[in-house]
C-alpha cells in the first residue's frame, strides 16, 4: 500500500472528474478529517487517516481491502472505476440519468441504457460525459457514459443506446468475488 504517484493521481482524477468534476476537491479536502487515496494491488482505496494507520499493521499480502475501493489501474495504466465508488460519486455527480422502473433491471444486469428506458437526464449533458444513473426514486444504480448528448437523446429512436454501462449495483452480486 502506497500513496499514488502524481501520474496515477492525475489519471484517477481525470477519470473522477468526468463524473463529479470539481467536486473531487470535496473528496480530497474533507472537513471531517483527512482522507487519502492509497494504491494497493493496483487498486485505489479511499480511506480516512485513522483507517490508514490501522491498516499499516497488516502485511501487504494479507491486506485485501481498506476503506473504499474506488477502482483499479489496468495493466495499461488506465483507471477503471468500480461500483464501490458509487457512494462517493452519487452525491457529487454533475450529470445524472434517471432510468425508468422498467429498465432498472436491465441496467442492473449490466446492459446499456436505451432511450426507451431513459426517464430523465440532466440538461446540457455532453456526449461521452460521465453520468451517474439513478432510478426514478433517486436511488443511485451505477454510472456510465452518455452515448448521446441531451439534445440528441430527444431525437433518437427508443431502441438506441443513450448511456453506456460502466458499473452498476448489480456487480455487488455478480462480481462479488473480485470486488474489494
Amino acid at each position: 500500500m502506497r500513496p499514488l504517484t502524481d501520474e496515477e493521481t492525475k489519471i484517477m482524477f481525470e477519470k473522477l472528474s468526468k463524473y463529479i468534476g470539481e467536486n473531487i476537491k470535496l473528496l480530497v479536502d474533507r472537513p471531517d478529517g483527512t482522507y487519502c487515496f492509497r494504491l494497493h494491488q493496483d487498486r485505489v482505496f479511499y480511506m480516512s487517516e485513522k483507517i490508514l494507520k490501522l491498516a499499516t499493521n497488516f502485511s501487504r499480502d494479507k491486506l485485501i481491502s481498506v476503506g473504499t475501493c474506488f477502482g483499479k489501474f489496468s495493466k495499461t495504466k488506465k483507471f477503471r472505476l468500480h461500483i464501490t465508488a458509487l457512494d462517493f460519486l452519487a452525491p457529487y455527480a454533475k450529470f445524472k440519468v434517471w432510468v425508468r422502473p422498467g429498465a432498472e433491471q436491465s441496467f442492473l444486469y449490466g446492459n446499456h441504457v436505451l432511450k426507451s428506458g431513459l426517464g430523465r437526464i440532466t440538461e446540457n449533458t455532453m456526449q461521452y460525459q460521465g453520468v451517474v444513473v439513478y432510478s426514478m426514486a433517486d436511488v443511485p444504480l451505477g454510472f456510465g457514459v452518455a452515448a448521446k448528448s441531451t439534445q440528441e437523446c430527444r431525437r433518437v429512436d427508443p431502441m438506441s443506446i443513450v448511456v453506456f454501462h460502466q458499473a452498476d449495483v448489480g456487480e455487488f452480486i455478480r462480481n462479488e468475488d473480485t470486488l474489494t
Binding site: D6, F13, E14, T34
Partner: protein
Amino acid sequence: MEDSHIQHCMFGPLGLTMGSQNTAPPFDPGCSGTTVATIYYGHCVDWVVSKFGRVLPVLQLRCRKGSKARTVKYDPSKYSHNIRRLDRTSPDKTTSVTQLTWGVEGGDDDISKKRRGEFPPYEPIKPKKTRTDAVDSHNAFSRFKRAQNSDRNTEVHPLTNGSDLLTNHRAAQRKGRWFSDSDVDSDEEIRRLVAAQQSSHGALQQEAEDDNLEVVGLDYLVKSGPKGYEEDYDSAGTDELFESKRNPAAPLQEKPSSPTAKQFSAKRSDKKRQTKRKTPSGDVSSSKPSSSLQKDNPAAVHPVIKHAADSHSDEHDEEEGNSSDSSSDFDFPALFSPSASHLRITLADLQKLAETRVPSILGSGLKLSSPPEGPAPKEAITPDEILASILGDDSSSDDEEQKKKKRKTEGETSTSLQVSEGNADKCRRRKRENKHGETKTSEVLRNPQTDSSSGSEEEKMSAAEDQPSSTSCSEEDEQEAGAAPCPAPAPCSESSSCEEEEEEQAPPRLVLAAEEEEELQKKANMRRLAALQQRQKEAEEHKRVIQGALANLDAPPPTSGKHIVFGSDDEEEKQEVESKKPLFQDSQSDDKAATDAAAAANQYATQQEVRLKPSAPQLFAASEDEEGDEEEDGSRFDIRPEFEGRAGQKLMALQSRFGTDERFRMDSRFLEDDEEEEEEEKTEAQKSLEDDEALEEEKKKNLTILQSVLGSSQQTSSKTAGKAKKFRDVSALHYDPSKEEHAAFETKTDETMKESKATRKKKREEAHKLPEVSKDIYFEVSGDLKAVFGPMNNGSAEGEEEKNWDQVVEEEGGGGEQQLLSSLLSADPSTMSEESTGFRFSFFGDESEAASGETTEYKAEKIQAPKVSWHQDPRFHDSSSEEEEEEEDQEEEEEKEGQSSTGAKITEEETPSKPDFFFFSSDDHRLKDGPRLFCRMSQLEEQREQWEERTSTLRQEYRKKHKDARRKLKTSQKS
C-alpha cells in the same frame, strides 16, 4: 354402449397422446370440439384428432361420428385399438383419464384464455408440476372425481367441465379461477378418497401434498411442532419451552380445529367452557357434595333461568354436531395429545399467568374475558354460544386460575398443569397424570378429590348415557371409556383425570343450577383473588430471597473463610431451591427441582472455585486462605506508589487488565522508565506529525494535480463549477431582512426596475412610433388635407375611433362622411389599428413639421381652439353627438399627448388652430360655448391617468403572460 363410448372418448385422446407421443401439454382434448380439432390438426392430421375433439362431450360422439364420416373416415377397429391401448396402460388409466379431463378442462380455454390473460389460477399449477404426465393425470383425476362427486362440490362443478358445453365453459372457467382455492381442498378430499385406488400415483400424491403444503403448512406446523417438542421435552419440561409455547398452547387447541371445521372447535370450546364452569365448582367444593349434587340433579338444573339457554344451546349444538364431533373427537385427541405435553406448565408460567391476569381480572371484574380465551368468542357460532362463551369465560378463566392457585397452594411442588388447560383434552391429562403420577406429593394431596371425582365421573357417565339429548357426550364418554382404561389402571387416578372426565361430561352438568354456579363463581373468584395475593406475596418473598442470595454471592463477607463461603453457597442453593420451586414450578417433581438446584449449586461451586483458585490454589487449606484474604483485605486500600504518575497509570491499566490476581500483581518492578516512554511518545508524536505532514503534503499535491486536471478541462468544468457554487449559495441562503446585504434579494428593486423599464419602453415606443407613423400618413394626409380639410378632421376622428362608430354613423345616415371615413380607414388601417394616438400624431405631425415655427404663437390657444373647432364643427354641421364624443376623445388624447410630450402638444394644437382660422374667427362665441358644454377637464385628466395605469398594467400582464408562455415552451422543449 354409452359407458363404453364415454370411456372410449375419455381414453381416446389419451391413447392418441400416448400413441403419438405428443409432447405438447396444451393439446388437452378440449371440451369444445372445434378448438380441440384445430389443435389436433396442428399436431397430426390424423382422423383421430377430430374424433377426440368431438367425442369428448361424451354422448355426442356417435352423432359426430356420423357427421364426420363424410369428412374423415373413422375406422371402428382403430377406435377399438385406442381403447385397447388404454387398457394396456391400465395402471395409467387414471393418468390417461386425467389427461383427457385435463385436456378438456385446460385445453382450449386455458390456452385461449392464457393468451387473453384470463386464466391465472390454472396456469401456475401447470408450470409447477412440470407438465409431467403424473401431474396432468393428477389434476385430471381430481377433476374427474369432482365430476363424479359433482353433488358434493357444487362450486367445483363448473371446473369439472369434462362434459361442459363450449358456451358455458368459458364462464365456468372464469368462475373456476375464483374457485381455485376451493379446488385445492376439493382436490385434497378427492385425493384422499382416491388414495386407495391410486397406488401407482405416489408421485402425484406427493405433488398434491406439496401443493397443499403451502396451504396446510400452518396446520402441519401446528400439529407437528408440539409433537416434536413433546418428544424432546417430555423429560425436560423446561421453563423456556413453556414460556415459548405456553401462549400458543391456548390457541393451539383451537387452531387445529379451525382448518378442519370451525364448528367443531366452537363446540369444543363450548364444551370446554362448560367443563370449566363445572370444574371450578368441583374444585371449589373439591368434595363430593357439589359434584354429587350436580350429577344427581342434572334434570333439575335444566330449568335454571340464565344458563339454561346456554346449556341448551350447547346441547343443541352438540346434537347438531354430534356426527362431526364424533369424527372430530378422534382427530382432536390426536392433535392435542402432542400438545398436551406442552401444556405441562411450570409453576413459574402459572405465576406469570396469574400475575398478568390478575390485574386485568381485577380491573374488569367478573366480566373479564382473559386474553387466552379471546379466540373463543370468535368460534362461537350462534349468539347463544357467544353468550355462553362470554359467561363461561369469566368462570372458566377464573376457575382456571383458581385451579392453578389451588394446586400450587395445595402442592407446592404442583407438577400438574392440568389446571390452566381445563379445555385440554383427556388424553393430555392422562398423559400428564401418567407423568405426574410420579410426583407423589401432588397425588397425595389430590387423592381426596380424585376419589370423589372418580365416583362422580362414573355417575356422570351414567347420567350422560341416560340423556339421549347429549349424544355427543355419551359418545365422548364412550371414547374416553375406551381410552380411559390405560390411565385408569394407574394407582392414583389423579384428580386431573377426574376433572377431565368431568369436563367431558360437562354437558350433563351444565344442567346444574346456574345460581349455584354463580355463587360458586363468586366464591371461586374470591378465593382466586386471595390466592393471587398470596402468590404475589410469595413471589415477592422469593425475589427478596434471591436478591439477598445474589447480593451475598456478589459480596462475600470479607471475614468469612472459604468454608464459610461454601456454607453460604449451600444456603443460597437451598434458598434457590426453595425459590425455584415456586418460580419454576416445573411440572416435574421435586426431584427435578432438586436436580436443578444441585446443578445450580454445582455451578455456583465451580464459579466459586474459579474465583478462589487464583488466590488460593489449594481449596482446603482454609487457614492459609483466610489469612491471605485478610492480608488482601488489609492491603486492599493501601496507596501504591507504583501506580502514581504517568507510568503508574499505564501500570494501573495493565493491572486492571489482569484483575486482582495476585500472581499478576504489578509491582514497582514493572514500572517502566519514564524517559523511555517519553521518548516513545515523542517518536510517536513525531511519527504522527510526520504522517500528518505527509498527508498534508499529499493533499496539497493532490489538489495541485486536481487543479491541473481541472485546468486542462476547465472549459467544461468551469461552467459546472460555477453552477455548483451557485447551488451551494442557494442552498445555504436564507433571507435575513435585518442584514443590509440581503436587500439585494428583495424584489422591490426588481419591480421598480420593471416599472422603469416599462416606462422607458413606453417612451421609446412612442418616440419610435411617432416618426414611423408620420411617414406613412404623411403622404396620405397631405392629399387629404389638400382635398378636404374640414371633413378630414371628422374623418380622421372617426377613423381613430373604432369601426363601431362608423356603423353608428351609418345608421344615422351620414352617407358622404362614411365614404370619406372608409377611404381614410382604408388609407391608413395599420396606423389606426395600432393606436389612435399614433394616427393623430402622424396627422398632426405632418403639419407640425410644416409649421413648426408657429408653435409658440399658438400655445396660448392650444387647448381651447382645438376643442372648439372640433366640437363646433359637428354641431353646426348637424353631425351626431357621437362625433362630438369622438372629438372629446380626440381632445383627451391630445391632452395626453400634450402633457406627456410638450412638443407633440404644440404640434397638435397648431394643427387645429389652423382650421379655426380657416373656418371660424378667433372670437367666435361658438368656440367658447363648445367647451362649456363639454367641460370635463378634470374628469378627462382622471380618465387619462386611469387609462395610463390601465395601459401599464395591461402591458405588464401581457409581458408576464408572454414570459410564462415562453418558459412553458422552453420547459416543454427540454422535457
